[in-house]
Symmetry: C2
Subunit: 563 residues, 2 copies
């Protein structure tokens, strides 16, 4: 007898389970209950629909050849029964049934299952703030959200917006609003953008992008109230200021939709998502769950994490379908990989940051470098900043961050593979990456980063991060900051914001090095700290051994510069 498989939720994970299962089991009776109107749409594409880059919302839920993935499509092409506007309201584990309400008719129906899949997704958090119920207080998580937000923008009445939350969703919408001539302010409870993803230095670089584009960023502020009159938003009051606006986007995070699972007595994990094993099975062996409603685990630490992303949901869906079909299948965990386009810049991260690596019991060593993504003589060449984190003893690569106007995503995915393959710093430095001038420098920035970390790990090079240098200055430590750029560059590109900097252009350093004191630490830098590295050789040749490099130089400095 064909297996009855019931799937609750038809967006990312649910759709993937259904499609994959059909390929594995031509006989199974597959039914999908989706409470909304829309199926299998690209949730991550919503900001681009709001921006207008994606013209029609139907584009987000059609196949590459333009066929809309609606219920008739699933029936006709995949022999999958999809019921939209059907809200599951109760799971009865004993009878293996699900009760659902047909939202069009109001009638309740009961569905039997041999295997049940929960792909109920997540919901954006709407805190109980005064004024939260007013018009034009949006979230952006579902297609309905996107339709509402775009309609508001199309109305031409939105001039000023406040985005509450400086995380991934908040920043994805920044560009959408900015490109539609909306004045944008971002309010974030922590002190910097994307605090959950990036370290303070990469966050600082992202903040500079926002400021350069005229987007106001208010970090470390809590929103107390949404202001308005006649149910129309007029502003946001934080603990530090009032920000007038015509709309508010609440983007402080999402919560997994676990009510059904909880009421059915399924186990919930420490982070509030449905708990599943590596086969994506819940505490009931006939019930699987995947996508935004579950918590998953980190590949390197094994610890529970939440990663509500379409890519993760699709991977979950494949494992679930395989498990239901009786194939060997196991989810292998996530690396917390994330990537964001912000105007002409890209920011990305994967794996463990320095702090997380330390907490996980590693002894992390890290370095950041700045380089061109391709040779400077090629048109469109632009900088990238890469940070690598590795375990000191084993050399194993644990994580990294990347930022810049140059090609970042390639280096990020290569790094993801390096971590997944348990590669060491040496392995990465020795990888035969593809070289031709349209695509990379002869030694790719990633190779350069790995070589620099190798130098650091072998004791050939000592470096400080911008934060560490800032800290040393604040603590009044006695050291020399040596800027080896030319006077023209110093003039044009700005100076580090510290009073006591020694300026000696690299070309003059052989002559002048002797005049530098031998008993104080010298931290050298230039624009990106490649000449800074040369400076260290020169200083060493003069018997000055207590030398170090400021990572990423003036161009990568994440904080304010002096003019």
């Amino acid at each position: 007898m064909p297996k009855k498989v019931l799937i609750i939720g038809g967006v990312a994970c649910g759709g993937k389970v259904a499609a994959r299962l059909r390929r594995l089991d031509p006989e199974a009776e597959i039914t999908v209950l989706e409470k909304g109107d829309f199926l299998s749409y690209a949730g991550c594409g919503l900001p681009f629909y709001v921006q207008g880059i994606v013209k029609e919302y139907r584009d987000l839920m059609s196949t590459p050849i333009g066929v809309v993935r609606d219920a008739p499509f699933f029936r006709k092409v995949k022999n999958i029964e999809v019921l939209t506007r059907h809200m599951a309201v109760q799971i009865n584990r004993a009878s293996q049934t699900v009760a659902a309400v047909d939202l069009s008719s109001g009638k309740e129906k009961v569905f039997h299952y041999d295997d049940l899949v929960l792909a109920t997704g997540a919901s954006p958090i709407r805190p109980k703030l005064p004024g939260i119920e007013m018009n034009r207080v949006y979230t952006l998580w579902t297609m309905d959200d996107a339709l509402a937000l775009r309609a508001a923008l199309d109305s031409g009445k939105i001039r000023k917006a406040v985005i509450v939350g400086g995380g991934l969703v908040g920043l994805e919408v920044v560009e959408a609003l900015h490109s539609r001539n909306v004045e944008v302010s971002v309010v974030e409870a922590l002190d910097r953008p994307l605090p959950a993803l990036f370290d303070p230095e990469f966050s600082g670089r992202i903040r500079k992008v926002l400021e350069r584009k005229g987007v106001s960023f208010f970090g470390g502020e809590r929103v107390l109230e949404i202001l308005g009159s006649d149910c129309e938003v007029t502003g946001v009051r934080t603990d530090a200021r009032e920000l007038p606006c015509d709309m508010v986007l609440m983007a402080i995070g999402v919560r997994p939709n676990t009510t059904l699972a909880q009421e059915a007595g399924l186990e919930i994990g420490p982070l509030g998502g449905i708990a599943v094993n590596p086969e994506m099975r819940t505490s009931d062996p006939h019930i699987y769950a995947g996508g935004d409603c579950v918590e998953t685990f980190h590949r390197l630490t094994g610890k529970a994490v939440r990663q509500p992303m379409g890519s993760t949901a699709n991977r979950h869906g494949r494992v679930i379908a395989d498990a239901i079909a009786g194939k060997k299948a196991e989810f292998k965990g996530v690396l917390g990989t994330a990537i964001l386009r912000l105007f002409e810049f890209t920011a990305g991260r994967t794996g463990l940051g320095v702090e997380a690596a330390r907490e996980a019991g590693f002894d992390p060593i890290s370095v950041s470098i700045m380089n061109s993504d391709k040779p400077h003589f090629m048109p469109g060449s632009a900088p990238v900043i890469l940070q690598l984190v590795a375990d000191r003893a084993s050399g194993r690569i644990l994580g990294g961050q990347a930022f810049g106007a140059g090609e970042v995503s390639k280096r990020l995915d290569t790094l993801v593979a390096a971590i997944t393959g348990n590669m060491t710093i040496d392995d990465l430095a020795d990888a035969d990456l593809a070289y031709a001038p349209p695509y990379s420098t002869a030694l790719d920035p990633l190779t350069h980063a790995a070589n620099t970390l190798r130098n650091k790990s072998n004791g050939l090079l000592k470096t400080y991060t911008p934060l560490e240098v800032q800290e040393k200055v604040r603590n009044g430590e006695d050291f020399i900051l040596l800027d080896v750029r030319s006077p023209e560059e110093t003039q044009r590109d700005g100076r580090l914001p510290f009073g006591n900097i020694t300026y000696i252009p690299l070309g003059a350093l052989w002559e002048k090095a002797a005049s530098l004191p031998k008993d104080r630490e010298i931290i050298a830098f230039c624009k990106i700290s490649v000449r800074g590295w040369d400076a260290l050789s020169i200083l060493r040749s003069q018997g000055i051994e207590n030398v170090a490099l400021l990572e990423t130089g003036v161009a990568g400095w994440p904080f304010q510069l002096d003019a």
Copy 2:
């Protein structure tokens, strides 16, 4: 006493040895002898200078901040003595000296060394053809070559060009000439472009690009004579035709410059390059060699290979400098990675192809897929074709090819890392690659390729390559080719060039599948073979089990289509 290090050759490897060694050893006396005028230039950038994308030749040999890397630069900034126009003529290993001629004065000088580095590069092959000595018969390997070729193009007298050799250099110049309104023909002794790098199918796709751009490709033809009068080229005669032209580019390969090494009695490897151990030491422990003049080895097979590329030369240089400075250093081999831009397309490859994998003792399994590089709703979305090769038993990834107008280089470098990290198909499929719509699809094309190979390896899917299908048709095998595209697509995009194709659009297949015979193999396909995969499920549900998929569908078909 400071170590005396003498380096012969100052372009890629030589320059890297000098710079790295200076950082490791501030005291060493480093001297570079370069027979030409130009130092540390980006040889791989020469085609872009010829094309005019790189405006000034000096850009190819300047630092990112615009300082030309000439002899004064090396002296002032790096304390390295560089002598241009100094041609080394003899190595005396007993006395550890090198005799060199100063080409400006004609005088011979003798240089002592503790360690000698041969970075003598390679030279393009100029076969002894009748007419080869005429004007406007170019090669493109050195800066001098590029200056000559660009001057000829700037003169406006070049209307038609013949490129002899359809390898990497030849094809890199195609675009340069084409963009300057030169009518280009390529003559290649083997039957297809880039025969040493790509399999016939990827070569076929590249050939289609050439033809679409109006570049004539004559495969399987040998050039017999260069025609001309008064020392001016007027054409090329092959064994099949005469091609009139105003210039010829000889691009049939390069030969490592080994004369000095050979005369000094150093060991030469099986491929004609200087033999070195993993520390890049020659058969004389005081003499190292690296870059285009040596032969190196394949990371996966250990076999000797030549890989005359700037990236390899730089990696060699780092190992040599480390070895000279007494650090632990070992070159880890290459993967034969190569990447080429051809108009708006990119083609790349790494690792072992199917044939090479078999020769190396693996039992290869492979698949090619076609997918968008990012979601179809994002502007600029474009297809990529990826091929993966793995070892059947272990699942270890061995190699791959990539081609398309979409983002290819990211997938290629990720694959390089996957091979370097000894990843399996499963590891790659499960890698948490970065997803956001500007950068990839929810499951990256590489994930999709790995999943497809996983399906194939697990027996869930049988596929044929275009060549295999072509072969089956030629052999008169009895099977059904099932095209499940819509009639509009079939009309618009062309048909496979075979008489007997069954056309049933996917949406009608559930109804019509029963009419198909159950006793003959059915090979399904669509535009890219995603719907083809759905078709297999439908056929199986009707009890038709002998089914397979044509890889990459009609859009990826590498040969001529029917209109």
